[in-house]
C-alpha cells in the first residue's frame, strides 16, 4: 500500500484496479463516521481531486484521490454502515476501487515506513 499526506491509502499491486480508503490515523482524527458521500462509478478522477466526503458527528472531511483513473466500484456497504471506516479503515472500510491510468504516479506516494515517519513528525 501507498499513502498520502492527506491520509488516504491506495493499493499498489500487480493489478491496475485498486482500492482506496483512509488510514487508521484519519479515522481516529475524524471520530465516529455517520455518513459517507460516495462518488458515482464510471467517473474519471485526477490525483488530488475530491473523491468522497466523510461526515463525522463533528464535521465533514474530504477524501482526495491518491491517483488518476476511473472509478469502477464504490463500497456500497458504507451507505448503511459508515462505521466500517472506524472499525476497519484499511480493509473492509475501503471507499472506492479505481482503474489506475498512470501506475507510475504511485511511485510518488509514501510507503508504510515513509508514512509512519510522516506521522511521527506531526
Amino acid at each position: 500500500m501507498k499513502y498520502t499526506e492527506s491520509h488516504e491509502w491506495i493499493e499498489n499491486g500487480q493489478e491496475n484496479i485498486v482500492r482506496i480508503g483512509v488510514t487508521q490515523y484519519a479515522q481516529k482524527e475524524l471520530g465516529d463516521i455517520v455518513y459517507v458521500e460516495l462518488p458515482t462509478t464510471g467517473r474519471d478522477i485526477n490525483a488530488g481531486q475530491e473523491l468522497a466526503v466523510l461526515e463525522s458527528t463533528k464535521a465533514a472531511a474530504d477524501v482526495y484521490s491518491p491517483a488518476t483513473g476511473t472509478i469502477v466500484e464504490v463500497n456500497s456497504k458504507l451507505t448503511d454502515h459508515p462505521e466500517l471506516i472506524n472499525q476497519s479503515p484499511e480493509d473492509s472500510g475501503w471507499i472506492v476501487k479505481i482503474k489506475v491510468s498512470n501506475p507510475a504516479e504511485l511511485d510518488l506516494l509514501m510507503d508504510r515506513q515513509g508514512y509512519d515517519q510522516f506521522l511521527n513528525g506531526k
Binding site: G31, D32, V34, Y35, E37, V53, E55, T57, K58, A59
Partner: protein
C-alpha cells in the same frame, strides 16, 4: 492569542481526550467517542468540564433593574434561588448572547455566558451599567464549572450533596462558595456546579470514582441539537433576533421594556424550524434551504442524531412553514429532502 487551560486540563490529557482550541480555551472535544458519550448522557450520566464558560457577578441596588432591561425574558420579580434562561438583544434587535441569570437576592446576581462572548458581554454590561449603582465582577480566574447530566445525575450528586434532591428545575442552592444548580443544556436532566477550582478538581475526581463518564464538547453539541436548543454563532448572532430563533419562547414582551425591543419587533420576520432529513446526508451550517424551487433560508446547525439514528437540522427561513412540510437542503451537489418537525427532536428524559 494564547489559549487558556481549565484546572482539569491534566485530567483530560490523562484520559486521552482529543483536545482542540475553543473560544480561546484548549477544551476536550471527545474522550471515547461522541456517539458513546452521547448515549452515556441519555441513558446514565456524564460529566462535562465547561469551565471555559464565563461567569460574571452583577450586584448592587440597580442590578435587578439593569438585568431586566438587558434581557428579553423577565428577570424582575423572580424568586431568589432561581435560574432564568434569556437572550440579551442588541440595540438593532439582533442578539448579544444567550445566557442564564442566577438570582441570589434582589441585589445579588450572576450570569453564566458563552465563552466566545465573555468579553462582549462584559463590555455590554459595563456600558449599560454606567450611572447606575451596579458592580460587575468577572470570575475568570480561579473558578470552574462542571455539568453533570443524565438520568443518573440526581442519585449520583445526592450521594455527595444530599440537599440537591430538594432543588427544583431551573433553581439552585449555595453551599459556601459552591453553587449547585439544577440546569443544563442536554435535555437529559442534571446539574451544573460553579465552584472555586480546588473544589472543581475534588468533585471531578469523586464523580469519576463513582463511575461517571467524562463527556466532551462534541457530544454536548449533538445533545443540545436533539433538544433544538440554540447555540450562539449558529441560531443566534448579532444579526438574528431572539424571536427569529428557537429561543423565541423566552422573549416576554408584556409589561416589559427592554433594550432592542422596538428594533426587534420591526426586524423579526424570519422563522426557525427543526428539520428531519429524509435522504441520507448531514446538513451543516450555511447549507441553502429551498422550498418551491426557491431559496428561503439556510441551515444554522446540523448533525447526526445518535438517539434517532437520523440527520437533523435547525433552519432559519424567511417564510412560514407548517409541521410536515417538505423542504430541500442543498448539501454540496445533492438536494436532500427534509421534513419540518416539532421540536424537540428527542423527548426529554427527566
Amino acid at each position: 492569542m494564547t489559549t487558556s487551560k481549565t484546572i482539569l486540563y491534566d485530567h483530560h490529557t490523562a484520559l486521552e481526550a482529543k483536545l482542540a482550541p475553543f473560544a480561546g480555551w484548549e477544551m476536550p472535544i471527545q474522550y471515547k467517542g461522541i456517539l458513546a458519550e452521547h448515549q452515556a448522557v441519555r441513558e446514565k450520566a456524564g460529566l462535562f468540564d465547561v469551565s471555559h464558560m464565563g461567569r460574571i457577578g452583577v450586584r448592587g441596588p440597580d442590578a435587578e433593574e439593569l438585568l431586566d432591561y438587558l434581557s428579553s425574558n423577565h428577570i424582575m420579580g423572580k424568586e431568589p434561588g432561581s435560574a432564568t434562561y434569556t437572550v440579551w438583544p442588541n440595540e438593532h434587535g439582533g442578539s448579544v448572547d444567550d445566557l442564564i441569570v442566577y438570582k441570589n437576592s434582589d441585589t445579588d446576581f450572576f450570569v453564566i455566558v458563552n465563552a466566545s462572548n465573555r468579553q462582549k458581554d462584559l463590555d455590554h454590561l459595563k456600558k449599560w451599567a454606567q450611572g447606575k449603582s451596579v458592580q460587575i465582577e468577572d470570575y475568570f480566574e480561579g473558578n470552574g464549572i462542571l455539568a453533570l447530566q443524565g438520568p443518573k445525575a440526581l442519585p449520583l450528586l445526592s450521594s455527595i450533596y444530599p440537599e440537591v434532591a430538594q432543588i427544583k428545575p431551573m433553581h439552585f442552592i449555595r453551599k459556601g462558595y459552591i453553587y449547585l444548580s439544577r440546569t443544563g443544556y442536554t435535555g437529559a436532566g442534571g446539574f451544573e456546579i460553579y465552584a472555586p477550582n480546588e473544589e472543581i478538581v475534588t468533585l471531578w475526581d469523586r464523580l469519576m470514582q463513582l463511575g461517571v463518564e467524562p463527556i466532551g464538547l462534541g457530544a454536548r453539541d449533538t445533545l443540545r441539537l436533539e433538544m433544538g436548543f440554540a447555540l450562539y454563532g449558529h441560531e443566534l448572532t448579532d444579526d438574528i433576533a431572539p424571536t427569529e430563533s428557537v429561543s423565541a419562547w423566552s422573549v416576554k414582551y408584556d409589561n416589559h421594556d427592554f433594550l432592542g425591543k422596538e428594533a426587534m419587533q420591526k426586524k423579526e420576520g424570519r422563522k426557525a424550524y427543526g428539520v428531519l432529513l429524509l435522504d441520507k446526508g448531514i446538513a451543516r451550517q450555511g447549507h441553502p434551504v429551498l422550498f418551491d424551487n426557491k431559496q428561503i433560508g439556510e441551515v444554522t446547525s446540523g448533525t447526526f442524531s445518535p438517539t434517532l439514528n437520523k440527520a437533523i437540522a435547525l433552519i432559519l427561513v424567511d417564510r412560514s412553514l407548517k409541521i410536515g412540510d417538505i423542504i430541500i437542503i442543498q448539501i454540496r451537489n445533492t438536494a436532500c429532502q427534509g421534513q419540518v418537525v416539532e421540536l424537540p427532536f428527542v423527548r426529554k428524559n427527566k
